[in-house]
């Protein structure tokens, strides 16, 4: 029972974690992409349809990643090359994604999807309590953990990561030093798009293997909030995503047990709990200052 609950928590947390990790990299480069929800749902519809047509969940995942990245490229072109307002463009991307995915997915509604299998390491996955949790989950779960470690390592232990952070901190200084601000931001945005696409693919291939219009159900927004409340730190995003997952699963069980608390309040609980906890841990102003990308959301036009 305990193990099953923990696994459902991981399943709920994984898409949030992946999408948030992508957005974290984007925001660290100084770009605010509010289109996560739109990119995610595009990933979901692509992942589902490609897997349905080819029968291969892996091709579905791949397609979801590619479409997420391409979709974010649209955002990149508008905000970086044409220097449109990032907030408005991001919102438009979300609306576009929601509409477009509904149109593409119309003929797939109600069809049985292809579910991605679990990994199941022989023997190890049969260990009591932790076997299935550690060794018997879907492959994307492992990817999400690797992604967290990878992003953390990239940002804080590589020169490329340092360069990315510098662009997010002060794009004018970075430009003066000869760092290619726009090129780095394009790459960051596409990474974020690929992650959002993967998160969407996860929803349609692992979480609920079918296509339902609007199935991202606000997860893109949660991912965005996670990044901010985690003060742009990968480890905290992981903690936040799992906390959110835990409370959302917990409140479902609480509802099933018939607790005398209004269900609306219980449904609000994951949002409240996550925000409260993350606000509490980010009370250290100095750390927050160091981690907040100072040029977040500001347009950049290099003078030549």
């Amino acid at each position: 029972m305990f193990e099953a609950i923990v696994i459902t928590i991981a399943t709920a947390a994984t898409p949030l974690l992946i999408a948030a990790m992508g957005e974290l990299v984007v925001e660290r480069s100084g770009v605010l992409n509010l289109g996560v929800e739109g990119m995610m749902i595009m990933g979901a519809v692509t992942g589902f349809s490609v897997a349905y047509m080819t029968g291969s969940p892996w091709l579905g995942v791949l397609a979801a990643i590619v479409v997420g990245a391409l979709f974010s490229l649209l955002f990149g072109f508008l905000t970086l090359t044409l220097v449109t307002n990032q907030v408005a463009t991001g919102l438009a991307l979300t609306l576009l994604g929601l509409g477009l995915s509904g149109m593409i997915g119309e003929s797939f509604v109600g069809l049985p999807g292809v579910k991605m299998g679990t990994v199941n390491v022989p023997y190890l996955s049969e260990l009591p309590y932790v076997g299935r949790l550690l060794f018997g989950q879907d492959p994307i779960f492992y990817i999400s953990i690797a992604l967290t470690i990878g992003v953390s390592w990239f940002l804080f232990y590589t020169k490329a990561g340092l360069t990315l952070r510098s662009v997010g901190d002060n794009h004018a200084s970075a430009h003066a030093l000869g760092i290619r601000v726009i090129a780095i931001r394009y790459m960051a945005i596409m990474f974020g798009g690929a992650c959002a696409g993967l998160a969407g693919g996860y929803l349609a291939l692992v979480y609920v293997p079918q296509w339902v219009e609007g199935m991202s159900a606000g997860r893109g927004w949660i991912a965005l909030a996670l990044v901010v409340f985690a003060s742009w730190r990968p480890g905290r995003v992981l903690a936040g995503a799992y906390l959110f997952g835990a409370v959302s699963i917990g409140q479902l069980h609480a509802q099933a047990l018939g607790w005398p608390i209004p269900s609306q309040l219980l449904s609000a609980l994951p949002y409240l709990a996550t925000i409260i906890v993350l606000v509490l841990i980010s009370r250290n102003k100095r750390l927050t200052m160091v981690n907040t990308p100072a040029s977040l959301g500001q347009p950049f036009v290099p003078d030549r």
Binding site: S166, N170, S173, L177, K285, V290
Partner: protein, 521 residues
């Protein structure tokens, strides 16, 4: 000058006819410049003369419209800063190209084109900082450092690339005299090692002291080359400005029985953050008609002091600060302004003015409370024409030069924006004005105008409090001078009784603090 060129026939850098056009404006118009090996070459000019544009082209951050650059006799095009660094050109920027959220070592790493580990960089930086006497903690966060320390990072970052030519853009505009002296020692040492330096400044005394040759720019054109040591500060200024520069005149003040306009009684303030200074029991009274100057090394509580008087931070007791006899300790900025006070903060962009807003809008923002009748009509509607008129009046009064009718604050050069901000406050004829760093990074002509305006205001019956790191400025404008050190204010003395040495002693004691910081590195 002639020796340096005679030793080696080919100059290190030769620029012919370099031109850069921004829209209608020719920022640089066919500039010729030659820098020999082992020479400190001054680039002189007022703000907006094209100095920064020229060096940005030399460093590859801007693309010239036309013209040629020769490096060691070879024609080169420098299309990005990486290429400039590869040639051996290093740059120390005026407003620093540092990243506040990163450590000193990380900042250095970003401008190195090869992959060196952060520890190796920290070690090299530490070595260089020792060799040149530039104390630096590689693992300190830039956001926590003073401007002087930040400049050291820029210089060390530049030296690590072992450049042949180092460009310094207004390096001393943010330094105290002591810090500037240290910098000159470093530069002289670099010259003795055969490196060339292009030194941009409008501080003529230091150019005379340091530089072998000078090129003077005015309105984007070269107006002359000279040997600064053969010139006087006045003759250099004349070349720069194109006309005679007047230093501020200060008629004697008659304040013996004047009314008290500002009094500060036992002002104390706890440090606002882990890196700010506490104010300790400050007493000060100012009478109508006088200019009082406050000297001090940067970061000794001047900023905190300004915030406390301006009302950005209020006090616990109303009687701590009185403006024209009214206790204002618990009042905010606008209420204090209504009592007849005016404030000019240190930071022009973002504090003194909203960068992305027009001058007229900035005017309205700072004065709609005090000039409600003039600027606002019924239901708080903005009276555009009244504001435009007031804005025009300030612009002509202070001789603010701008590129458009009503440009964004950020598009003005530092000196012109400062003139506008000061003019905006003076236009109200305040009875008390507090100005923090009135001519920070402002050219000679604009600075003289600002100083004269402050003196004139005082002589008209106001109290003028000037906080500055520029001692020459303080001696030029002040009737009395006090020194701030570690949040304490010395009792003010008549300027005539103050000497540089005495001020230096009062500033002292901070020495131990800087040394312990250096040791940490």
């Amino acid at each position: 000058m002639s020796q340096t060129r005679a030793v080696d026939g080919t100059p290190l850098l030769e620029v012919k006819g370099l031109t850069k056009v921004f829209g209608q404006l020719k920022a640089c118009d066919s500039i010729d410049l030659t820098i020999g090996k082992g020479e400190i070459h001054a680039l002189l000019g007022e703000n907006g003369a094209g100095k920064s544009t020229l060096v940005k082209m030399l460093f590859g951050s801007l693309e010239p419209a036309s013209g040629e650059i020769f490096w060691n006799g070879q024609g080169v095009t420098i299309s990005n800063p990486g290429q400039a660094r590869k040639l051996g050109i290093g740059m120390v920027f005026q407003h620093f190209s540092l990243f506040e959220a990163l450590t000193a070592a990380e900042n250095i790493m970003l401008s190195l084109d090869d992959d060196t580990s952060i520890l190796a960089i920290a070690e090299k930086a530490h070595g260089l900082s020792k060799a040149y006497g530039l104390p630096l903690d590689p693992f300190a966060l830039v956001g926590d450092l003073s401007v002087g320390e930040r400049q050291r990072i820029e210089i060390i970052r530049c030296l690590l690339q072992e450049p042949e030519l180092i460009i310094l853009d207004e390096p001393t505009s943010v330094l105290t005299p002591q810090e500037a002296d240290k910098l000159f020692e470093t530069l002289e040492r670099l010259r003795s090692e055969g490196k060339s330096i292009l030194y941009i400044s409008h501080r003529l005394e230091e150019v005379k002291r340091l530089c072998d040759r000078a090129t003077v720019l005015r309105h984007g054109k070269v107006v002359g080359h000279c040997d600064p040591r053969q010139e006087t500060a006045a003759s250099l200024a004349r070349m720069m400005v194109g006309s005679e520069v007047i230093t501020a005149t200060r008629p004697p003040a008659a304040i013996a029985d004047a009314t008290e306009l500002l009094s500060i009684c036992g002002l104390s303030r706890k440090p606002a953050g882990p890196f700010s200074v506490a104010l300790k029991n400050i007493w000060l009274t100012m009478k109508a008609g006088e200019v009082l100057g406050i000297a001090g090394v940067a970061g000794n509580g001047q900023g905190e002091f300004f915030e406390a008087i301006s009302g950005e931070v209020t006090q616990e007791s109303p009687d701590v600060i009185r403006i024209r006899g009214n206790p204002v300790g618990k009042l905010g900025i606008s209420e204090r302004r209504l009592m007849g006070a005016a404030f000019v903060p240190e930071e022009r962009l973002g504090h003194g003015a909203a960068p992305r807003m027009k001058l007229s809008e900035n005017l309205l923002l700072s004065r709609f409370k005090t000039d409600t009748k003039a600027f606002l009509g019924k239901f708080g509607m903005v009276r555009t024409s009244a504001i435009a008129e007031a804005s025009k009046r300030i612009v002509s009064e202070m001789d603010v030069r701008k590129s458009a009718e009503d440009p964004e604050a950020a598009s003005l050069s530092g000196g012109n924006l400062q003139k506008f901000i000061i003019g905006r406050e003076l236009d109200r004829q305040p009875s008390v004005i507090i100005v923090n760093q009135p001519t920070w990074g402002v050219d000679a002509g604009a600075a003289a105008r600002i100083r004269q305006a402050l003196i004139d205001l005082a002589r008209g019956g106001s109290a003028v409090l000037v906080i500055s790191q520029d001692l020459d400025e303080l001696f030029e404008v002040s009737d009395r001078i006090a020194v701030m050190h570690d949040g304490q204010l010395s009792s003010p003395l008549p300027a005539a009784e103050m000497t540089l040495e005495r001020i230096g002693l009062l500033m002292g004691g901070s020495q131990t603090a800087t040394e312990s910081k250096g040791d940490a590195a």
